[in-house]
């Protein structure tokens, strides 16, 4: 009887259910799927803003031109390097911080506020502050630190532009990793840990055999979510180096092909390379998150 009511209820709700879902789906179709299809079309056309008449189907020649261009391979490598450095630094640092904050510390609330702050700073602000106040080789703070130790000042952006940008981005994402891992550490079974301590397990053994396995899933999720955002790193490059082969990633390559060289076809092809790249990673994330749906 109740089951019958529930089923009737459900079917009664399906009409309004579809109706209420429609606006959200329409906006997403209009802002993501439709333009993506147009990008695919552009990537197969000869389309340059300076010669608007030249548009026409050209097959894969944009891709061939893109791959042959001297900017493409460096941009691909830079994108991978940037993601790798930021992930390694933010997760290693975040794990260290999470372990410290999970310890018997006084004032954990204040510590959390300090640690989370960089995460809420807009990218152009963090990039400009780091570039000028900290990394500038003449009177920046790092130059002073180096002088304290009798070292010569390091000209970050001339010698290692990509690494400098990666450090800045890692600083923005370290708090995210730290807080996710801290949350997960705090849900860890205290009793299990104390039992291991009583049995004489060393701190290293507890970390290795109890905590790290417990953290494997949150670390995987941090990796995937950071990667989604790291594929699109743009503002940090724009306001510091303004491009150049040494620090251009795929996102910036699309921008410079389209906005500086007016080559819509090649820019679209580069954008689609980024999309394919992101999709490979997305498959993994969807699986991990989809599993949590059933749980």
């Amino acid at each position: 009887m109740t089951a019958g009511v529930a089923i009737r209820q459900r079917s009664y709700l399906q009409g309004p259910g579809r109706l209420l879902l429609a606006p959200a789906i329409l906006l997403l179709l209009a802002a993501s799927i439709a333009p993506l299809l147009v990008t695919i079309k552009f990537s197969l056309s000869d389309y340059r803003l300076l010669f608007p008449d030249s548009s026409g189907f050209v097959g894969l020649s944009n891709y061939a031109r893109l791959v042959a261009s001297p900017d493409f391979v460096p941009a691909l490598v830079n994108t991978l390097m940037l993601i790798a450095v930021v992930l390694a630094a933010s997760i290693a640092g975040g794990l260290g911080l999470a372990l410290l904050l999970d310890g018997p510390v006084i004032g954990r609330g204040g510590l959390r506020l300090l640690v989370i702050s960089p995460f809420f700073v807009m990218p152009p602000v963090s990039a400009l502050l780091w570039k000028n106040l900290l990394m500038q080789p003449v009177s920046g703070f790092f130059a002073w630190l180096a002088a304290l130790f009798g070292l010569p000042a390091y000209d970050w952006f001339s010698h290692a532009p990509l690494l400098s940008i990666a450090l800045i981005v890692a600083w923005q994402w370290l708090p995210f990793a730290a807080l996710i891992l801290l949350t997960s550490l705090q849900s860890f079974d205290r009793e299990l840990r104390e039992a291991a301590q009583l049995d004489g397990a060393s701190a290293a053994a507890i970390l290795r055999h109890l905590l790290l396995p417990h953290l494997a899933r949150p670390i995987a999720i941090v990796v995937m979510i950071e990667t989604i955002f790291l594929i699109g790193v743009f503002a940090e490059i724009l306001v510091t180096t303004g491009g150049g082969t040494a620090s251009t990633d795929l996102a910036f390559l699309v921008y410079s092909q389209a906005m500086l060289q007016y080559d819509i076809g090649a820019a679209s092809a580069a954008g689609l390379v980024a999309v394919v790249f992101a999709n490979i990673l997305a498959i993994f994330l969807i699986r991990a998150v989809g599993r949590s749906l059933e749980a």
Binding site: L21, A31, S32, P35, F120, L179, I225, F234, A235, G271
Partner: protein, 274 residues
């Protein structure tokens, strides 16, 4: 007992040292914002012994560029977040309380649009906006940022609504409440904490969004991201001014972040970390 106390003191010391190091760039910026330009670049740097001044803040507030951008940021972030809620609350209601066999697929599809890098859709959107007069307009930014943040909001609200007992909604339906009344007078009050933290998360993301806001606007609709990006050269040489402008641009969302850090950070994992 004593070793435990010592352990605690050492752990506290290391934790504070590490946390202060992470926050140092911001603390240093705050300090620099109170210096004169000359003191800001002095080497070795001055820590506390300088003539504290509010001149940088006064200068920025007096010029009007900042206020212009602040208004734009508030309108764009606030407007897009309101639009997101207006679309996401009904959608999440439908998924949580009137699910069909397609619901799971639609949720995952929505999430997958978030994996689409903005550069994959940038060129068509730019050309379309150019032709339709949406470049350099707040409306254009509101629409795009709403679309960008909609999947996250639907996910957060969906996992939130599932914790609301469906019987309460059914009871209100039996009492003859319309769908609108059910959403506004029954569901919204019950799920208010979740709705509020969803709003704050999408507001923060929209406030800090730095791809569309740097590429689709030039003068009229410039939000704070573009205001700050304009310091990249040669104005960036004025460190004290840059510092004050930076502080003024990040304070609103920093306060929001401090107040709801747990929900915000967890919201970004699409409910995958509890």
């Amino acid at each position: 007992m004593r070793t435990r106390r010592r352990h605690r003191a050492i752990a506290t010391m290391f934790a504070w040292a590490a946390s202060l190091t992470i926050a140092f760039p911001l603390l240093w910026t705050l300090l620099t914002s109170f210096k004169t330009e000359l003191e800001a670049v002095s080497f070795p740097p001055r820590f506390l012994s300088f003539d504290w001044t509010l001149a940088n803040y006064r200068g920025i507030l007096a010029e009007g560029d900042y206020l212009h951008s602040l208004v734009n940021s508030v309108i764009v972030a606030g407007g897009s977040s309101a639009l997101v809620l207006a679309l996401a609350i009904p959608a999440a209601w439908s998924m949580a309380f009137a699910p069909t066999h397609r619901t799971r697929g639609i949720l995952l599809w929505m999430l997958s649009t978030k994996m689409l890098p903005p550069v994959g859709v940038f060129i068509p959107i730019f050309l379309f906006y150019r032709d339709w007069g949406l470049l350099d307009s707040r409306t254009g930014l509101v629409l795009l940022l709403a679309a960008a943040n909609l999947p996250i909001a639907v996910w957060m609200l969906f996992s939130n609504f599932r914790e609301v007992p469906g019987e309460i909604l059914e009871a209100s339906r039996m009492d003859g409440a319309s769908l609108w009344q059910e959403l506004v007078s029954v569901l919204a009050p019950l799920a208010l904490p979740g709705i509020a933290s969803t709003f704050f998360l999408v507001f923060t993301l929209a406030w800090n969004e730095s791809f569309w806001t740097l590429n689709l606007v030039t003068t009229e609709a410039t939000p704070l991201t573009a205001f700050i990006a304009a310091f990249s050269s040669p104005q960036g040489l004025f460190w004290a001014r840059l510092s004050a402008a930076s502080i003024l641009s990040i304070v609103p969302v920093l306060l929001i972040g401090w107040l709801c850090q747990r929900q915000l950070v967890r919201g970004l994992t699409f409910g995958a970390v509890k």
